[in-house]
Symmetry: C2
Subunit: 359 residues, 2 copies
């Protein structure tokens, strides 16, 4: 077994990569929600001055990417790779939004779990010494997602209570190489390296990942994605506990992407049947992002949802020291308009990322 592997599905990084930059860009509705003050950039115009919803979403990614690079004190040329994805067919927002950066691209798709996937791949690239800095980014847009997966906005369809509201937003993270122990041991370099090590204090590192499998319990309701995704989230969380030999208390928070109110209850019950109680630590980005009066039904969703909550809120809470260790679990419903129309089920997938504050 390769020595960085941990248990059946996890990796424990030898030199955990550090998050050196992050940015969140959201739309008006997200800015009006309870976390509005935490987001870095607010776009009042839902089309961002573009002609189409897809171009607007592409612009969200471009804005988030540039802001994250800047927040890390880096230039575009310092970023070796982008690991990017969105919900649109053929990753339209990433393809068009990121082309001007001229950075080698790995396009990824894991539905709303994509931020977990891109952070996982970015961390392996950095810990494996293939790059100093990698950009991990995802986005979603309410209008481009509704048009693609459900109904055109002009149709004005009614939304059942189990439906979620796709977040308009993009979150971008710079995953960077950490100071290696062996570097600190090399005396000639000590001062320079120890300054870098000091600078890492208070930042958040990616200590490990648990990569999810496709989980299909046969749920077919695209208006109830929480139910589709909850078993996938449950399996990857329980596997994380098993692989790292820990209990839920190991984490200050266990945060899923967008299970919403329906998925939350299913998840907590599912995990309980496996012998763990996560109710005290549990939080869901989708439930949090909109207020009760915002008419968002079961909550927010989309791969922008967990991405902006991570970059806008979760990392800031960790850097402040309120939370030391967080299990971040973006959740995806592997739904397509074609598979849905053909009567297929909606399989789920979830990827867990172990975040820890460097003290």
């Amino acid at each position: 077994m390769a020595f960085k592997q941990k248990g059946k599905q996890s990796i424990s990084f030898e030199n955990p990569p550090v998050i050196t930059g992050a940015a969140s860009v959201v739309g008006k509705k997200e800015a009006e929600g309870p976390y509005g003050k935490y987001f870095d950039i607010i776009e009042e115009d839902s089309k961002l001055g573009e002609d189409t919803w897809e171009e607007a979403e592409a612009k969200l990614q471009e804005t988030a990417a540039k802001k994250a690079i800047q927040s890390a004190g880096l230039k575009t040329k310092d970023i070796r790779y982008m690991v990017a994805g969105d919900l649109l067919g053929q990753l339209m927002a990433s393809s068009f939004g990121l082309s001007d950066l001229e950075i080698p691209l790995f396009g990824v798709y894991g539905a709303c779990s994509t931020m977990g996937e891109s952070l996982g791949i970015a961390s392996m690239i950095v810990d494996g010494e293939f790059a100093e800095h990698v950009l991990a980014i995802t986005s979603s847009h309410f209008a481009s997602a509704e048009k693609q997966f459900r109904f055109p906005l002009g149709y004005g369809n009614q939304r059942p209570k189990a439906a979620t509201w796709t977040v308009t937003g993009s979150g971008a993270i710079i995953v960077s190489r950490s100071v290696r122990k062996k570097e600190l041991q090399e005396k000639a370099e000590y001062d320079r390296v120890s300054d870098r090590a000091k600078a890492e204090k208070g930042k958040v590192k990616i200590k490990g990942i648990t990569t999810g499998k496709i989980v299909d319990y046969g749920v077919k309701d695209s208006m109830n994605m929480g139910a589709c995704m909850a078993p996938a989230a449950g399996e990857v969380i329980v596997q994380n506990f098993a692989d790292f030999g820990c209990q839920p208390e190991f984490y200050d928070k266990i945060i899923t992407g967008d299970l919403g109110k329906v998925g939350k209850d299913i998840l907590i019950d599912f995990v309980r049947t496996k012998g763990y109680d996560i109710e005290r630590q549990y939080m869901d980005c989708g439930i949090e992002i909109y207020g009760e009066s915002q008419n968002a039904q079961a909550g927010g969703s989309g791969c922008g949802c967990s991405a902006v909550m991570l970059t806008g809120y979760i990392l800031k809470m960790m850097e402040k020291g309120d939370w030391k260790r967080v299990l971040f679990v973006p959740t995806g419903a592997l739904l397509s308009q074609v598979s849905f129309n053909e009567g297929n089920s909606v399989p789920g997938i979830a990827h867990a990322v172990v975040l820890e504050r460097i003290s």
Copy 2:
């Protein structure tokens, strides 16, 4: 700079991963072409006994994955990760085709360049010591692709000469850890390890990769994807020469994915303006896969095209010893039906993989 990096966009692997298993599954038209005898499995029924084209494509992936695992002498449980993608919105073929394998999944999208992307990520995972064995797989299907990107088959549209024919097929590769030099130096283990090293002889290793950027020259014709992709292929090939400090003669073959007859001429001219002549080594999977009489216009395409030519033909030519070193460059047109209908250009991307026979 991390020490595995090579030049501006490349990696030279410290312990190049070995291809220990491969499988190609194709449809009837591909089997009737000049390379028919090389493919491992031929599916005479274009629906593979399924109800829809998408389910048929999913079945192609499932069949290829199982055959590749078997050809490596492994069990499904030995595979730590799958890096998988296809052309369909939300990666339908991968999501539905691979779920029964129950292996942690990284879904990837790079249009027809996806096999280059998945091999790149799989190689980094293995060389970075995060896994012993990783499955890299892609697929395409003529009918599901036409339905999604162009016209329903029943419409019977005419095809211009620059159009390509999407290959029905899936190629799967097992990327495995190679014997490390330091392992051979540890005497106690010598016999066991040296047997493994002997077993690697004649196999193909992944010596390096050059990851591509999005390249957009403003071409808008979805019926002329060769022209859209050729500059991306040209840039990544020239970058590979620069990063590895080599000339075209370093390679016995330089093989692109699916530029077709139109893209081929553009590519050779493009590379020539940069000071390199690749005409002698050059080959394109799309031009090769169908015969002149097969009415495939400019050639084959789709992320199954380069995948089945790699697994069916290229690797076999290398294992036989006919070719020692190959630059494999799958090429992708970042086209979506929505971006096309909205009048956008078709950006291209290409990822290069340096393959070398272990002697």
